[in-house]
């Protein structure tokens, strides 16, 4: 680097000043690299051109943090150059656009605050947010996953919500991976799996928030890049939702101490994983859920007393992002003195304090009249607190450390980064025919699918999560006396209302075409929600993708976003929040592109929630929906190691019709049990219903299934969307059939008192699987 460029300017502080005007292109890149900024040359030049004086390291770090992919979502907001022209902002052109067009009056705050907010009941709002914590979990599985949960819980606290449920969707490499196949720096999937699950459980359990819903997937596309989605839902009285920071309000920081842990988490999250990440141990965050539990109490007390004018969590970027954001969103400025901060280590440089991502911290803006009371509350809850400074009208972020100025930036400049440009190639997948030999024993096939790593029971994980704490879990992850898998969790968050919050998810990373992958994920999230009785569903999108600077990854992302717009509109489900995690690359290549859709619905009476277990001998079993030969990416095909075929597509108008009548049927009480069809198709759904039921079973006559498909295995394992298997009382069947007029409906069998599943294949051959052998295959005992 050129001499004179970097100077130590203070004799008291560890503070460096960089005169960017002296820096050439090479220097700029070197600065970005050495300071861990992850800024591109364009961005560095942009800063250089606009800075009228040498910048301190604190200031440059602030740019690095604020302009990171994690904090500002630059790819989603940037220009995408395609063959057909430029797309200006994926976010505005697809995700937010659908919501805007749907224009639902019950969407109270979308894409704005730390979490999406929708109306709930009796003046209460429901808040929802889902995050990813992939990079930290790859390096330190326990701490990474735990702090992922902790972080998303703080997002709910950051909209004044009382957290009521946690969700986790996890994708790992196959547990059977051979150690020798792993490049240096990539940890074995088993090690990651154990750590991540223990971490998720530990945080939720310790904080007393039930972990109620999620999913686990295994695929070699995740061996180098583990995917950890953590979600949190909360409720709050609408009238107490304040976001109105004013001049002269105090900026109050409360919670855990600030340390070197988690320095550069965001730039770390926005960079590829490599062997070097082992050394990035400062990016490791140590979870301390007990502090967050106290922080939660204090936050709710401050909310209930209407004592603060604003709140936000400290997540990516630490103080540097939270303070700027809070001031900027209210068009204010802020003066900060760092001296009073509680530190874990004595000798931290100002920039380290400023960008530290130490966990369990929240920032509040507090009017002077309430300051004393707020401090008392923190004291009672045994929380360390520091008055950082005061908001003002300056529009600047002014930071001093022991009186010396370390940062003085105009917020407008900080919050108008240069737009990034990304190129996207057109996405094409070669249409391949899928050739599969017809098996002779469907029962055998079903049993082997039941024990497939991607389909088998998750009981051994679910039971390590407390899903009952708070006493509000009306619909559980394992339902029925024998613990069958439920489609969605139902929470009853308010004491004086029967209204339930219905939480579901949809995720289909194995469908090769990103468009239909996204479409079916949205439809699945809705379908799962409806299956238990949910309605008025809002959705959250969480993209996990590879390096967006690569045209092919970008092309696929674009295609998935197109489907998000199309199907949000067509299925009438607005997006309310979401997040993207890009740059998931490892020496093994990019992550398998993965989109998680989380569905948040409501239901008027939790007592009417429908479950999967069969209820009464002699009831009729119907299949709702049409079965096509859609085997591409299906669990059955993958279990055979086969590829090709077309993946399931979504008929949106049919899907909407089905959900409408199904909700009505559930409300009128004629649906006794319901389970949606997803991975493993009709076969797996029927088997799971039998597994969940004590003393009862069902017959499934495949000859009755409405379909053009005639081959038994295809009929049984196709993953066509918009389908449900339901139990209906015989006396109500006429009424039911009338209600579903115009919808593909097949009466496929009935409930029997023989525990298990009787399959009748298209040729009329019967085979019987007992409940106990299916249970053994599915859950291992």
């Amino acid at each position: 680097m050129k001499g004179g460029l970097l100077k130590r300017t203070s004799d008291k502080l560890e503070l460096m000043t960089l005169d960017l005007s002296l820096a050439g292109e090479k220097d700029l890149l070197e600065i970005s690299e050495r300071m861990g900024l992850a800024l591109s040359l364009d961005e560095m030049k942009f800063i250089k051109e606009r800075a009228s004086r040498p910048l301190t390291d604190v200031e440059i770090q602030t740019f690095g943090q604020t302009w990171s992919e994690h904090c500002i979502h630059k790819t989603f907001k940037g220009d995408i150059l395609t063959e057909k022209g430029t797309v200006r902002s994926l976010f505005k052109s697809y995700i937010a656009k659908a919501t805007k067009e749907l224009n639902k009056p019950w969407c109270v705050s979308v894409f704005e605050d730390n979490a999406g907010l929708v109306e709930f009941d009796k003046g209460y709002l429901a808040a929802a947010k889902v995050e990813t914590h992939n990079h930290p979990s790859a390096v330190e599985p326990f701490g990474g996953a735990a702090t992922g949960v902790g972080g998303v819980i703080r997002d709910i606290l950051g909209v004044w919500g009382e957290p009521v449920a946690v969700t986790d969707v996890l994708c790992f490499g196959p547990l059977s991976t051979k150690q020798e196949e792993l490049p240096a720096g990539v940890k074995h999937p088993k090690y990651i799996y154990k750590g991540v699950i223990a971490g998720v459980g530990a945080y939720g359990n310790n904080m007393g928030i039930p972990t109620v819903s999620g999913g686990i997937f295994f695929d070699s596309g995740y061996t180098g890049n583990v995917v950890v989605y953590c979600g949190c839902m909360g409720v709050l009285p609408g009238r107490l939702y304040v976001r109105n920071t004013k001049t002269s309000d105090y900026a109050v920081l409360a919670g855990g101490k600030t340390g070197r842990d988690g320095i550069h988490g965001v730039t770390f999250a926005s960079a590829d994983l490599s062997e070097k990440s082992e050394e990035l141990r400062s990016a490791v965050q140590i979870p301390n859920p007990v502090v967050e539990e106290r922080l939660k109490r204090a936050t709710i007390r401050i909310r209930d007393g209407a004592l603060a004018s604003g709140v936000t969590d400290l997540g990516g970027g630490g103080l540097s992002c939270a303070t700027g954001e809070m001031a900027h969103r209210s068009d204010l400025g802020l003066e900060v003195e760092l001296k009073g901060l509680h530190l874990k280590e004595a000798k931290m440089a100002p920039w380290e304090i400023w960008v530290s991502e130490s966990q369990e911290r929240m920032l509040y803006s507090v009017p002077e009249v309430n300051l004393k009371r707020v401090l008392e509350i923190f004291k009672e809850e045994e929380i360390e607190v520091c008055i950082l400074g005061k908001f003002n009208k300056s529009g600047r972020l002014n930071v001093t450390f022991r009186g010396e100025i370390v940062c003085d930036l105009e917020l407008k400049f900080l919050y108008s980064p240069p737009k990034v440009k990304r190129r996207a190639s057109a996405f094409r997948i070669p249409l391949k025919e899928c050739k599969l030999k017809e098996p002779n024993d469907l029962g055998e096939e079903l049993l082997s699918l039941l024990s497939d790593p991607n389909l088998r029971s998750r009981e051994d994980v679910i039971r390590t999560y407390d899903h009952e704490v708070r006493g509000c879990t009306a619909g559980k992850p394992l339902q029925g006396e024998l613990g069958g898998p439920n489609d969605a969790a139902v929470i009853k968050p308010l004491k004086d209302s029967w209204m339930g919050l219905v939480i579901s998810c949809g995720i289909n990373p194995f469908y090769e075409d990103p468009y239909w992958m996204a479409a079916s994920s949205i439809e699945e999230a809705v379908r799962n929600n409806i299956a238990v009785g949910g309605r008025r569903v809002a959705v959250l999108d969480n993209f996990v993708w590879g390096n967006p600077e690569r045209e092919d990854r970008m092309g696929a992302l674009l295609r998935a976003c197109e489907a998000c717009y199309d199907f949000s509109l067509a299925l009438d489900v607005p997006f309310i929040s979401g997040k993207d995690s890009l740059y998931n690359e490892s020496p093994l290549g990019p992550v398998r592109p993965t989109l998680l859709i989380t569905g948040i619905g409501i239901m008027p009476d939790v007592r009417k929630a429908v479950t999967v277990d069969l209820k009464k001998n002699g009831d009729l079993v119907y299949l709702i929906g049409f079965t096509k030969e859609e085997m591409g990416g299906s669990a059955y095909l993958r279990s055979k190691g086969a590829t090709g075929g077309s993946c399931p597509k979504v008929d949106a108008s049919m899907s909407r019709k089905i959900t409408e009548v199904l909700v009505e049927a559930i409300d009128s009480g004629i649906i006794k049990a319901c389970h949606d069809l997803s991975d493993g198709g009709l076969g797996l759904t029927a088997a799971e219903m039998a597994i969940a039921s004590g003393g009862l079973g069902l017959t499934l006559d495949m000859r009755q299934v409405l379909s053009q498909v005639r081959r038994g295995d295809l009929l049984l394992f196709s993953e066509s969307t918009s389908r449900f298997l339901v139990e209906v009382e015989e006396e109500k069947s006429e009424y039911f059939e009338r209600a579903l007029k115009g919808i593909a409906l097949s009466r496929v069998g009935e409930v029997t008192d023989m525990p298990g599943l009787k399959l009748i294949d298209p040729a009329g051959t019967e085979s019987v699987l007992s409940a106990s052998e299916m249970r053994k295959a599915w859950r291992g005992y």
Partner: protein
């Protein structure tokens, strides 16, 4: 091949904040003890089958790297114990 006992100690690297140590320290002071900083770690006593003391030690280190410790946040130390339980060799990293 003999069965040997190795003693493995895993603790947080210096510089990492130890929440458990912090809470324990406070509780000790509440009970009236003149206690300052507390750090908490784990000890494993593992029976291993190995040809020699050196081999046992190597195995134990490998166990730490693969399962018992995470190099990004933990330090570990290994000693091979004689049958009587006394230390004979020590290795730190």
């Amino acid at each position: 091949m003999r069965t040997m006992k190795v003693r493995i100690e895993v603790r947080l690297k210096a510089g990492h904040f130890d929440p458990e140590g912090d809470v324990t320290s406070k509780s000790l002071r509440d009970l009236g003890f003149p206690a300052g900083e507390v750090k908490v770690g784990k000890v494993y006593t593992v029976d291993v089958n190995a040809g020699s003391r050196e081999a046992a030690e190597k195995l134990a280190q490998e166990m730490c790297r693969k399962l018992l410790a995470n190099p990004t946040k933990d330090d570990f130390s290994v000693e091979v114990l004689t049958v009587e339980g006394r230390a004979t060799q020590k290795d730190k990293r």
